[in-house]
């Protein structure tokens, strides 16, 4: 309430508004400075700085030092699992993934209390369960961990779980462009082929092929050549003549390995997990409303890519050279997912802004200071939800090639866009048995990242 004796209520109210507007103008720099406090992604700098030093163990220490409220536990577990995987601790990594999966299932239900809080405060007060693509990635990376541990049946479990998840996504409908994961299907096919389950492998490869074809326009990942070979190999082996002829005409691939040849030889499957996914940042608009003298603020998330210095990997085994090709563009998947969700996020932010402004108006009618404080509180708590799984790679590349049984030295050269070598790695004495499929995966992390913007 404003007490100015001898002034009519209407004028008095106007004066009050002017004075509160002045006050808010004074407070504006303070609010701007304070609301620059860390969102999730800006707090991650320490972890990133250890990662660019190629030190996942120290990055893990930095992650443990970060404050993770219970609502962010899934995010913490996802990052922890990935850092443990980078450090070569696959079993421990899978324990974290399992816990994350359990929590995602539990927190997938709509929470009444969180819905209320997120409507009054901001979206980041809700429990994080990851975007659908991040949930699929849990299965992909857990499967890769099991493959590194040579536990093929357990990797198969992950392939089946990914299948259940993707089938549900397919059924769900809606505007989301992410309804299928081409690489999850491709990897499942590889796992089934490793186990000699030809029909299951064929079904998974076929689904991968359909997904790559459908998503090429938005994600710019064409059907990988190695998948074309796999489709020809299995449709021929399973005598699915129509499909085999169709693939032969469509792919026009002259030379591919038959099942019989792969039984005589062994096959190397090399995966390179390149770079880091884009970071979600906050874009805020703070506007004083001259009519009411109150401040309005809308904060929305956007993705900022982390530069990828690697174009492909050259793999040299016994003087034979192979080049990897992109099989999953996680950077693009993240972007199209956010793009599709933006109308919903924006609508919620605007609705919240209106509710917050009404609350400040109502408080201001009772007491000027209450109005100002409510407005300041509302403006400061208006933050974008910038939580995302930041230790995911930006893209996954792969190459498959057959070699006669023997022991090989493998040289991997990560190349930039102009063909210059960025990093080299040599692996000595890799034994390959007849009929074996040896899958090896490597994380490639950039050696610098641009300064984090606040």
């Amino acid at each position: 309430m404003c007490f100015l004796p001898g002034v009519k209520r209407s004028r008095r109210k106007n004066q009050c508004n002017i004075s509160s507007a002045r006050l808010l103008l004074v407070l504006l720099p303070v609010i701007t400075a304070l609301s620059g406090c860390a969102t999730y992604s800006t707090g991650f700098v320490q972890v990133e700085s250890e990662l660019v030093k190629q030190n996942p163990v120290k990055a893990l220490d930095a992650l443990e030092k970060m404050d993770h409220p219970d609502r962010d536990r899934v995010l913490y577990l996802m990052n922890k699992a990935m850092l443990l995987r980078m450090a070569g601790n696959y079993s421990e990594s899978n324990l974290q993934f399992e816990e994350a999966k359990r929590l995602i299932q539990e927190r997938d239900a709509i929470s009444i209390s969180e819905q209320t809080t997120s409507f009054i405060i901001n979206d980041a007060t809700r429990a994080f369960i990851g975007e659908p693509f991040e949930q699929t990635m849990v299965h992909i990376f857990s499967a890769l961990n099991y493959l590194d541990l040579s536990q093929l049946d357990e990797a198969r479990v992950e392939a089946l779980q990914a299948d259940v998840r993707l089938n549900l996504l397919n059924k769900r409908g809606g505007a989301s462009p992410y309804k299928e994961d081409a690489f999850a299907r491709y990897l499942s096919g590889i796992i089934f082929e490793m186990l000699g389950e030809w029909s299951n492998a064929m079904i998974a490869y076929r689904k991968a092929y359909q997904a790559y074809s459908r998503q090429n326009a938005s994600l710019a990942v064409p059907v990988p050549v190695s998948l074309k070979h796999a489709l020809l190999r299995l449709s021929s082996y399973l005598e699915i003549t129509n499909e085999f002829e169709k693939f032969k005409t469509e792919f026009a691939v002259a030379d591919w390995d038959t099942v019989a040849k792969l039984n005589e030889n062994g096959e190397f499957i090399l995966l390179s997990l390149n770079g880091l996914t884009p970071v979600k940042r906050e874009s805020s608009h703070l506007l004083p409303n001259p009519g009411t003298g109150r401040l309005l603020r809308v904060s929305l998330p956007y993705y900022e890519s982390r530069p990828l210095q690697v174009d492909s990997v050259r793999v040299i085994a016994d003087k034979q050279e192979q080049r990897t090709e992109t099989v999953e563009n996680i950077d693009a998947i993240a972007r199209v997912t956010l793009e599709a969700r933006m109308p919903e996020i924006t609508a919620r932010a605007i609705a919240r802004m209106v509710v917050k402004d009404q609350a400040a108006r109502a408080a201001g009618e009772q007491n000027d200071w209450a109005g100002i404080l409510t407005n300041v509180f509302n403006v400061m708590t208006e933050r974008a939800d910038t939580r995302s799984w930041l230790t995911l790679p930006a893209e996954i590349q792969l190459t498959r090639f057959s070699m006669p049984p023997g022991t090989y030295q493998l040289t991997l050269e990560w190349l930039d866009g102009s063909g210059n070598t960025v990093t080299t790695k040599t692996i000595d004495a890799v034994a390959l048995k007849a009929g074996e499929k040896k899958l090896l995966s490597f994380h490639w992390l950039p050696n610098h990242l641009p300064h984090t913007r606040h």
Binding site: T117, V157, L160
Partner: protein
Amino acid sequence: MKSLISVRSTLLILLVTFLSACATEVTRMEPDEVKDLSGAWNDTDSQLVSEEMIGQLMEENWLPEFTRQKNMRPTVIVGTVRNLSHEHINVNTFVADVERALIKSGRVKFVASSGERGEIRDERKDQDVHSREDTRKPMGQEIGADFMLKGSINTIIDASGRDQVRYYQVDLTLISLADNTKVWVGQKKIKKFVERSNLRY
């Protein structure tokens, strides 16, 4: 005024949330007590399936036939049970349950599996050097198994929204080591309907 009430109730909600998150309650349970939490494969399934299947195994013809022909109890070894399901089932616990049910039946002899016998053989080698002669166990005296019990756990999952029908099928096969004939094939099915709420607090 309205807004003050809503601010107050929000604070109350937050306070209740914090307080309710503090309480952890632990209740001891009997091992045979059934409690399904997530609908996933659990110890009860493992015990029920193994006991019922070994019960079936003992009822079948192959056992009296073998005893009549050879005039002795058959020796069985447990091979691999593959997990082909949608879950990371601990197959070792299931195998242990199967072994326990086999021993309990008392109608077959039962030898250590390939995983376990390595350690026994090492110990025997060690005895050869370090043990007194009258207590030393000689090598080459192991009993060769007549049959191997192998199997798999499979699942079919039908999911819609947050509800699932989980269908488990456990197959066990007893194979004669002499000629690869399958003398017994057993199957046990479990079906669960898992309903999960769309809302939480």
